[in-house]
Symmetry: C2
Subunit: 445 residues, 2 copies
């Protein structure tokens, strides 16, 4: 998506926060058009799209929800689909093509004009999770031998056909990125000064095309930039990632973390087909059963003890639950940390210690309360002590495990959130049951 | 924070993604300076800050982590603290003051110059979670009777002392917001045309000061704006929320959802003092014990059954766990939905149905697998059937409850995420234990 200085000009149809609605809704915003389209059946969508002009159609389709968009693009005549893609910025076109089935994709691809096809196919080479996979390629590159006045004139000339750029990128004759200037930098400079000379003293921040897109988001968010240039390994300028893309990356990352943590699909929404969600979640639920079987086996070992003292069966879920909750608190804080800050090994493992300390202290307090409560209820000091001790130990383990699991997954090169909550529960359940029932078997009989 | 067309000019010190680092690091970025400061002891910080010029000090302090910043600001001499606040944009100054203890705040406040004090104290009136609480007040308002050429000249004149604005806000003589123009709109217009006439046909989007800040974030993200104007109930222009603030709002919202869901503090990070985290989490852990006591009581009712058939104690956690996991998947998808889209009651309750369907189907599949597994292991058809049935029922309940809890909390006017995972577990545990042990008691004896 390309948001270069778009002016707020449309209104979401029925929004409480919006106070002032002009009478005319002729020029609807693409995001609103997309919403309207999604409410229609596929047949109606097709009819509707064919009546729109290509520009509007391409903007609306860009904003549509993925599953709806794929269905629509697959049904459009190839010729028209190609026209729509050509009207988009190449990175949006590549994103859409990437999602389509191979045969649909090549069918549409053949209809693209050669130049567009080449550009899109270049973009398709990049890993979608990398800077290259999310960058915009329509940027303003200025030769470093130009002077400030010429640069300003060039920007003014381009105003007719394109937005005013956030930044002008200064390159040498081989398109090596030499520096970045804002319009303000240019306006404040002596008109005859060469761009090259304006760049003195500048510390340039840019990312290679294979940098992780979430890393790009962190940099833009950390430094409050509007865009960040993307270069190849020879420092040649390839494109930029803009702040509106970063918002999408951050939102998608937050959904991914929260959902994959419990084994839901990373990109599921309430608009995804329910069968898609079913497919995404089922494998993790099956893994969860197998994991639960481990803790069930632990309990199974103590069936003799339980048969003699059935209250243990009532109390054991408290231990497991409490340690699980403690661990999830650590897990949540740690996953958010990894999402927002660049990974720093030393700091991260230091944070595990911090979580251990919190778990220990919370374990003491909660353990004591449970001890007193259980003593008052059962008048069985031994049982209350076993319960408190097991709770305390399992809460410390939960806290440390909750904080470590994402780090271990990260060190293994995997997604730090994926199924982390499921692994955590297996651990806190089995260890909690074992400690509690084990201590009970040894002390209470 | 104010990010109007900042130019990337500095480099994070040791970053892998950054390829090209200029030799000089003299002009460090405030975010990096803040990191450096946070590594020092409070005494060292104080020493360091006093040696910086006020401009640098104020930028670095703005970027510091909250707890560190509060400690530092409280220890600085009031005179110097006031100077630092005056060098910030008023909204940042207000944010920082808000966090300080009352006595420190009034001590510093007395040292502010009258005009700054008035502006900051106005900002302090706004709810920090509202548009007014996050807006910037340093904006360019142009009178509607100005013509395009005059407007451009004015912007050029201001370039010396301030950044080029994202948008120019057109107001009437009473500062009522009439419309928004981009620099491009101005450059493309006939120079003699009055701004008033350029606004024809425009649909303006703005928010009242009391709109929820997350709603502002959703609007900016949806329409790819760089800023959104904030007005009072008479449509008078008060300020704007910019895209860099929106990134912070989105990140903070994602942390808040993920962490408060399991009862950790909404604004905890690995940098928060561990005692702060302890205080934030303990009440929810205690609530969790009380909730677990409910499900323990359910098991307690069936102690007789368990004493006769202790394998039930081993299997019951599988039922609870599985339903809990199913519910958490629904919960995660629903909380993300509420975070990303404006709340639509009909759509949301429709999504609950969708989750119920997924839970039903997953329950059938997992139930069948568990039935077969348990049959193979125990050769007890009755037990396997009871287990499968309880699992299936509890998974449906988990899915529906997981999807409903955030909606119910929302309808009650509360945070949809807060402790939702804890409530969910109580429900899936108690109902799971009751269904499983109840069916077992009726059928197997």
């Amino acid at each position: 998506m390309n948001a270069k200085e778009k002016t707020p000009e449309t209104v979401p149809p029925d929004h409480a926060a919006v106070q002032w609605v002009s009478a005319s809704l002729d020029s609807q915003h693409p995001a609103d058009m997309a919403d309207e389209l999604e409410k229609l059946s596929l047949e109606e969508q097709l009819e509707y799209i064919r009546e729109m002009d290509v520009e509007d159609a391409s903007e609306s389709i860009t904003e549509m929800e993925r599953h709806d968009r794929n269905a629509l693009m697959s049904e459009l005549p190839s010729e028209f689909a190609a026209e729509i893609l050509q009207a988009m910025s190449p990175d949006d076109a590549a994103d859409i093509l990437k999602d389509l089935d191979t045969d649909v994709r090549s069918r549409i691809f053949r209809r693209l004009e050669r130049e567009d096809a080449a550009e899109i196919s270049d973009l398709l080479q990049f890993d979608p999770d990398s800077a290259g996979g999310v960058m915009n390629t329509e940027i303003l590159a200025l030769d470093q031998s130009m002077n400030a006045r010429q640069a300003i004139a060039l920007i003014r000339d381009r105003v007719e056909e394109s937005e005013i750029p956030y930044y002008a990128y200064v390159v040498d004759g081989y398109r090596h990125l030499m520096g970045v200037l804002s319009l303000r930098d240019l306006l404040l400079s002596p008109g005859r000064m060469m761009l090259k000379d304006l760049l003195r003293e500048q510390n340039l921040i840019c990312v290679p095309f294979d940098a992780d897109k979430e890393e790009v988001a962190r940099l833009i968010s950390r430094y409050n930039f509007l865009a960040l240039p993307v270069v190849d390994h020879e420092q040649r300028l390839l494109g930029t990632v803009t702040v509106d893309d970063v918002i999408d990356i951050i939102q998608a990352g937050a959904s991914e973390d929260m959902q994959s943590m419990v084994g839901a699909g990373a990109d599921e929404t309430v608009d995804s087909p329910w069968t898609y969600s079913l497919r995404m979640r089922l494998p993790w639920l099956i893994l969860n059963v197998l994991n639960s079987a481990v803790s069930a086996f632990v309990v199974h070992l103590f069936e003799g003890t339980i048969a003699q003292m059935a209250i243990l069966a009532a109390l054991m879920p408290i231990v497991a639950n409490q340690a699980g909750n403690t661990g999830q608190q650590s897990l949540a804080v740690m996953i958010r940390q990894l999402a927002m800050e660049r990974f720093d090994r030393k700091k991260s493992w230091g944070a595990v210690l911090r979580e251990g300390k919190i778990g220990l202290a919370n374990g003491c307090i909660v353990g004591t309360l449970v001890f007193l409560g259980l003593l008052a209820w059962t008048h069985n000091t031994g049982l209350a002590a076993v319960m408190a001790l097991a709770l305390w130990a399992d809460m410390i383990i939960g806290a440390v495990a909750g904080a470590s699991i994402p780090l271990i997954l990260k060190e293994l090169g995997r997604d730090p959130a994926q199924a982390s909550s499921i692994f955590l529960t297996t651990l806190t359940d089995s260890i909690g049951f074992f400690t509690f029932l084990g201590l009970a078997a040894v002390w209470l009989f």
